[in-house]
Symmetry: C2
Subunit: 229 residues, 2 copies
Amino acid sequence: MKYSYQYPHPSVTVDCVVFTVQNNFLKLMLIQRGAEPFIGEWALPGGFVRIDESIESAASRELKEETGIENIYLEQLYTFGKVDRDPRERVISVAYYALVSSEEQIIAADTDAASAKWFPVDELPRLAFDHKYIIETAYRRLQGKLSYQPIGFELLPPKFALSQLQSLYEIILNKKLDKRNFRKKIQKTGLLADTNETQKGVSHRAAKLYTFNKEKYDILAKNGYYFEI
Amino acid sequence: MKYSYQYPHPSVTVDCVVFTVQNNFLKLMLIQRGAEPFIGEWALPGGFVRIDESIESAASRELKEETGIENIYLEQLYTFGKVDRDPRERVISVAYYALVSSEEQIIAADTDAASAKWFPVDELPRLAFDHKYIIETAYRRLQGKLSYQPIGFELLPPKFALSQLQSLYEIILNKKLDKRNFRKKIQKTGLLADTNETQKGVSHRAAKLYTFNKEKYDILAKNGYYFEI
DNA sequence: ACAAAAGTGTTTGTTGTACACCCATGC
DNA sequence: GCATGGGTGTACAACAAACACTTTTGT
């Protein structure tokens, strides 16, 4: 008990809602708790913010430590601070949401594979703390942002077919989209660059692959451009 | 030094960016610091989150204590947690933004009037900590939300004229809007209720006064309706 | 009667929506 | 040659944008 203060201080943690799209399902990663409280229950990856790291660094670090995932899209979601959200002590949690490409979904080898798992958002187990509520908030935010920020690409491999992109939108927004209109709209942004490649190993006509031109988007965005789909 | 922990804990504060519209300017409230660090400089109202109150309660409480303002629109903005944002110790700040009607702008009598003041957003003094950055974030958020959430009404008295509402949009978005198109659009939402009153004491044709039908909006919003202006 | 702001419609261009068939490829 | 998804255009409706004059009221 080396650290003393004149007034009580809360603990500050980060919790990460990591989304991916896998086999036509939107999924998120949970880990099984190995310690009290809520031992054995599923929870979001996360942990304490250290005194010498920024909150975002803490989120990246915990993600890497607990799931092996690194270098992904990570954005602050909301800060949850109800007095009794942790039964032990006062804990304020800064939640982040993260997006992982379907290619990098593999939980790294240095992780206890039994304890980290992808769950479809509609088939979540019982969750520790207020994590159910955090996930609902993250899901709503993802749905909202998808339509007016180019974040869908973060969930795809660097080279992707238009049908993959459309399917991703349909899965997350939970509604069918018109193929021709979707293509028209996304092409009209001018943000997709044609690679001269096509899909490999499919048993039908191979689709053209595109990449998202992030540099072009960043320049446009700086000048007031608004992505919308 | 009665409170001891095994690991160092950060302090958690709230900071509030309180907006109002006054004399055709978007303004926000600052208080002059009476203590170190940054003594004498201007800063956002705010303070420490107590161990037994939620973060939002802390924001309301500090606002009332420091500025006399209460019962206003208050929404979490972002959590700022760079390691060195406070020169004394590690402080994580959960920022809120608040909207005050132009009628309630008066800084309450129980406040040291010399120390709290409204500043136009484009004429801010030098600010303590990273408060300049927090304000920029809040301003961008306000501009963004104004177009797709009915928050403009929070900055007006309960009964208002359409020209007041338009002027508010023009001031915050910083661009001229077409009067006829604006009126058409806002009337078509069906969310304004006609009071049978008109402006008093104006030296020209008196405008009709309307109220915003929040109940109706809440019901529509629950069923997927999206406000847009 | 004049100053000041309130109030009101129409036209034109742009964007969204609905919709069905041929094409390329692997087996 | 057939099954599978890839790729394409047009017509119609809805919405956004541009634009100017009359009305009401107080002084």
